[in-house]
């Protein structure tokens, strides 16, 4: 298509092949397991790293392994040129921990726990958690069904000033 496309493609391919072991390199269409994908420094300290792998994986075993195509999918969703629509779409799927197509209370709680880190002193108390989730549902759950669905999510996200700039991974 264009030169920049190929430049991106090459660098992505290089990073991807670095993750492969020697004998895997010869095989076509091989899958890198999630554990090795997570060693990428760009993903290492991301609290959603496992979710990201799972979302972009096309593996039938649901182990989060990525083929090169999946890897490209990931990079393009997190690239500069991806639109708000794409980004919000994938963000929704990343936050949708149980893959049921809506963000319910369980998803939101997991999301909060991801954001506040693993240590106990940064955790919110159950009371704060309840209040927080209530507030979020009050704000963004427009049809009041107790969950945030994709269109509601995109409605919220599209008004955020810094989502597009922060939802980005650069190799």
């Amino acid at each position: 298509m264009s030169m920049s496309f190929f430049i991106h493609l090459f660098s992505a391919h290089k990073r991807f092949t670095e993750l492969l072991t020697k004998d895997e390199k010869d095989l076509p269409n091989n899958r890198v397991p999630m554990e090795r994908i997570l060693t990428l420094p760009e993903l290492k300290s991301n609290p959603f790293r496992k979710r990201i792998c799972n979302v972009f994986s096309t593996s039938e075993y649901k182990d989060g392994g990525l083929t090169f195509e999946d890897f490209l999918d990931l990079l393009s969703a997190f690239s500069d040129s991806a639109t708000l629509e794409i980004k919000s779409h994938y963000a929704f799927r990343i936050f949708d921990f149980d893959d049921d197509g809506t963000l319910d209370c369980g998803d939101l709680e997991k999301l909060v726990n991801c954001l506040t880190g693993e240590t106990d002193d940064t955790r919110l108390t159950p009371e704060e958690m309840r209040q927080l989730i209530n507030n979020i549902l009050e704000e963004s759950d427009i049809d009041k069904d107790g969950t945030v669905n994709l269109s509601e999510f995109q409605h919220v996200i599209s008004r955020s000033p810094d989502f597009v700039s922060s939802f980005k991974i650069v190799l």
Partner: protein, 890 residues
């Protein structure tokens, strides 16, 4: 014509999902083209066709359901799609569709359709090139579209390949040869530029001093504590400028071009002090060598011009002394104005505060584990801040009790403020009496009574106020403002006593100075008469006395300067010691003695200290007031203050991170720290008064400082105007200082203030109105969004992406027969059992939305009257969610 051709092409190439996206929104011809595609589907699912046709004319929600179903089908048929697409490219496809249309639609529109189709065909034959151009555009567009859709890579690749082939075929030489290299170069440069921009941004952030430190503090302690450090940083910047002015225009010229040390009396230590001039105890009191150094007013000579440059030092001294105030005033006011633009008292007005925090706060570019930890902390803190705000909003309170308590608290605090004010007044009065008595008769307590009472008040009152403020139960941010205001009032007493004592000292010094001056004059006279009578000559050489032995006055300016420097230094010592003992030692004991103590020290009594925002901010503000007042009498004070701020930045950052715990209720600071700035402005004004008073009325010492020999300090300016400026300028000055001119000017300014005030009020009202309107618009949009149909396409893309191709359970309230879903629910395992039952109540909740009547359709739909998808038509279109079943006219 070309446009129609184009849309036709688009519809040939679009996949079914994309085609449906055009639904309800497109203009008439597009709508028709869509029908073509729908009919195409009907061809495949011939048996479902009649039902579908009926459904399409029913209520809109059902329409959306049907879309879902269609989508399911489209997933099944996905494999066959590519071949079908190619088949469509052939031209006879168009006529086939045309036939179908004629068969299915007996409406008037079909004739027009036919015409259009025929035109299209003609176009294909006749304007081959145009067609290709259009197709090319479309293919290119396809590439873009594929990037803008959240599709799987495989699907994209298929589309991309098609588009690529086409582009290669028709773009020809454009992509080869010279142009290609240039293009590659351009792309490379664009990438480089982007990278450079990013690096530059990073560099700019790195250039902001202490940004990292403050961010770290903010992430752990909240924005309120960080606001103190930001204020401190701002203060440091201000003081750096003041330091530059003072040292660049006053101190350095005197050191470089003025007379050297020891050449004249004011630059020499007197003989009787020389023995002890280097003793530590003397230096510690800023006596000895320090007193006669460039740090203080007395060191500067009163030569009108010095050095090669003919630098007018006294004039420069006066102008810098006043200019410091002018600059500070300007900066403070400008910052306040800028902050006011940003506005807000910290409570966010956005409607998605929490959701944004939740969904968009993580920065995916973070690759460093330490940064990630800080980010975790900051996100947690900001959650907590917002929760505190929200709790405050939701608090349902007994308004009468609350009011009573607030009045009571204010009464108590006014009482204690009045009491401490009287105490200060009483003590100062007493100390004046003591000063007249002989020092030997006084006890230690009586001598230091004022300082003792002052520090006692400073120690007791702030915690007392804080305790009383508990009664008021304000939001912590507002409570902080009240606390700041109250302690400020208390500290004003402090300032008052200090200034009072200082003026007493000055008056006393002026008395002694007068007698010494008389004595010196008398001695000179004696010398001259003796000399002339002895040598019988009128040409008398000046007395040959060593500068250290000259009799000199007390130099009250130096005394004032030393007073301020002492105050600043002792304040600094006290602050640092307090941090060391009150925070560090306490944290140390609590942390390590906790292992062998009978109760839990960390959770129980001493626990760790919290960062005292109000005390620190006020300390900083009053410190700055001292600097403003003292800088005129001690130019070195500004340099000292820069050092102090620098060290306290590092020291306090360390202390807060190491020994303090976050506040119990972490609260968000107001976005503009205009309250701090307002207090600062007040202090600036208060400190301006005494300095200007002394410049205008008190006569300077006769033997020290740049103004010695003048009647008043500002005479320097008069002298310059008279001697160095052309006479017409002097005239202008005399006119300008005429009361007849000044009074109208003041009047004009007052009127201008009144006018601007009125204008700003008007803008404020307009702002409020606009805000209201925006809120209404948002609500409307919410209601529109509430209707699922308009956003359904996106849902379909999502379904396609879900790993097991599971479908989202269709919105329950729009489903007339829940059983149908359960049948199809084989693919949607996550459907909730209670969902169908809950759907009944939902409609009551969504009061703002238009109701979705679920009455069965009892009569056949009438003929369509207008463009069904046109959202602007006056009749409720399907996109508005108003069911047709409810309208008896149809």
């Amino acid at each position: 014509m070309n446009f129609q051709l184009f849309t036709y092409n688009v519809h040939v190439f679009y996949s079914d999902e994309a085609r449906r996206r055009a639904q309800n929104r497109r203009a008439k011809p597009q709508r028709k083209a869509k029908k073509v595609s729908d009919d195409d589907e009907d061809d495949e699912d011939e048996d479902e066709a009649p039902r579908k046709k009926g459904q399409r004319k029913k209520t809109k929600p059902q329409d959306s359901d049907e879309d879902d179903e269609e989508d399911k089908r489209s997933v099944k048929r996905k494999t066959s799609k590519a071949s079908r697409k190619k088949a469509k490219e052939e031209s006879d496809e168009g006529s086939e569709e045309d036939k179908k249309k004629r068969r299915k639609q007996g409406t008037a529109g079909s004739k027009k359709d036919k015409e259009e189709q025929n035109k299209e065909k003609g176009n294909v034959k006749g304007k081959q090139g145009k067609d290709k151009g259009g197709e090319k555009d479309k293919k290119k567009k396809n590439g873009k579209i594929s990037r803008n859709k959240p599709w799987r890579m495989k699907r994209r690749l298929v589309l991309l390949k098609e588009a690529q082939e086409f582009v290669e075929k028709f773009e020809g030489a454009l992509g080869k040869g010279k142009g290609r290299k240039l293009y590659a170069y351009k792309v490379m440069m664009a990438k480089k530029l982007i990278k450079f921009k990013r690096d530059f941004e990073n560099f700019k952030t790195a250039c902001i001093p202490w940004e990292q430190k403050i961010k770290e503090v903010e992430s752990h302690f909240g924005s309120s504590v960080a606001s103190y450090f930001i204020f401190l940083r701002w203060m440091y910047g201000l003081n750096m400028v003041l330091f530059g002015l003072m040292f660049g225009l006053v101190v350095l010229p005197e050191i470089l071009m003025g007379l050297p040390y020891g050449s004249i009396p004011r630059k020499t230590v007197p003989r009787e002090e020389q023995e002890t001039a280097m003793d530590f105890s003397v230096l510690n009191d800023f006596g000895g060598y320090i007193k006669y150094s460039f740090l203080f007013y007395g060191y500067f000579n009163n030569n009108r011009r010095i050095g090669l440059l003919q630098f007018r030092l006294p004039l420069s001294y006066l102008l810098v002394g006043v200019g410091i105030f002018g600059y500070s005033l300007m900066v403070v006011i400008r910052t306040m104005a800028r902050n006011a633009n940003e506005g807000g008292d910290g409570a966010e007005e956005g409607e998605f505060t929490f959701s944004w925090k939740m969904f968009t706060s993580w920065d995916y570019l973070i690759g460093n584990p330490e940064t990630a930890d800080n980010k975790y902390a900051s996100i947690t803190t900001s959650f907590k801040e917002s929760i505190v705000d929200e709790q405050e909003n939701q608090k349902d309170e007994n308004i009468h009790l609350r009011r009573f308590l607030r009045v009571l608290a204010n009464f108590l605090i006014t009482c204690s403020l009045g009491g401490s004010g009287y105490l200060i007044y009483f003590v100062v009065k007493r100390s004046q009496d003591f000063a007249k008595m002989e020092k030997e008769n006084l006890s230690w307590l009586e001598k230091n009574e004022v300082e003792f009472v002052m520090s006692l008040l400073g120690l007791v009152c702030p915690p007392l106020f804080e305790t009383i403020a508990e009664l008021e139960d304000y939001h912590p941010r507002i409570a902080l403002k009240w606390q700041l205001g109250r302690i400020f009032a208390l500290f004003l007493g402090n300032l008052y006593t200090f200034l009072f004592a200082l003026f007493d000292e000055v008056n006393e010094k002026l008395e002694t100075e007068k007698s010494i001056k008389n004595a010196t004059d008398w001695a000179f006279e004696q010398y001259y008469t003796n000399y002339s009578s002895h040598y019988n000559t009128t040409d008398v050489p000046p007395p040959n006395v060593h500068p250290a032995d000259v009799i000199r006055g007390p130099c009250w300016e130096d005394a004032v300067g030393i007073g301020f420097v002492k105050l600043i230094v002792s304040d600094m010592q006290v602050t640092y010691l307090t941090i060391l003992i009150g925070d560090f030692a306490r944290a140390f004991i609590v942390r390590f003695l906790n292992y062998c103590w009978c109760w839990d020290l960390e959770a129980g009594f001493p626990s760790y200290g919290e960062f005292d925002i109000s005390g620190n901010v006020l300390g900083l503000i009053f410190n700055q007031g001292m600097i403003w007042m003292g800088a005129f009498y001690a130019p070195g004070l500004v340099g000292l203050n820069v050092l102090r701020l620098l060290s306290s930045m590092y020291y306090q950052c360390w202390a807060v991170m190491c020994c303090n715990v976050p506040h119990e209720r972490v609260f968000k600071a107001s976005r503009s720290n205009n309250f701090y700035m307002g207090l600062l402005l007040l202090v600036l004004f208060l400190s301006l008064l005494p300095v200007v008073y002394t410049i205008m009325t008190v006569s300077p010492s006769f033997d020290c400082g740049p103004f010695s020999g003048q009647g008043k300090m500002y005479d320097v300016i008069m002298e310059t105007i008279e001697q160095d400026l052309p006479p017409f300028l002097a005239n202008i000055f005399t006119y300008a200082t005429n009361p007849g001119l000044i009074l109208p000017a003041v009047l004009l300014m007052v009127l201008a203030i009144y006018y601007l005030n009125a204008v700003s009020k008007g803008y404020q009202n307009a702002n409020l109105d606009l805000k209201k309107k925006m809120k209404i618009t948002r609500d409307e949009e919410k209601n529109r969004r509430n209707n699922k149909d308009s956003t359904n396409e996106v849902m379909k893309d999502l379904e396609d992406l879900l790993p097991n191709k599971s479908l989202i359970p269709p919105p329950v309230e729009e489903e007339p027969h829940p059983d149908v879903i359960v049948d199809k629910g084989a693919k949607s395992p996550k459907i909730k059992p209670g969902a169908a039952a809950r759907g009944v109540n939902l409609q009551k909740d969504v009061s703002l939305a238009a109701p979705n009547p679920r009455a069965p359709v009892t009569r056949a739909p009438g003929p369509r009257r207008g463009p069904p998808g046109n959202a602007r038509s006056p009749q409720p279109g399907p996109g508005r969610g108003r069911g047709r079943g409810g309208h008896p006219s149809r």
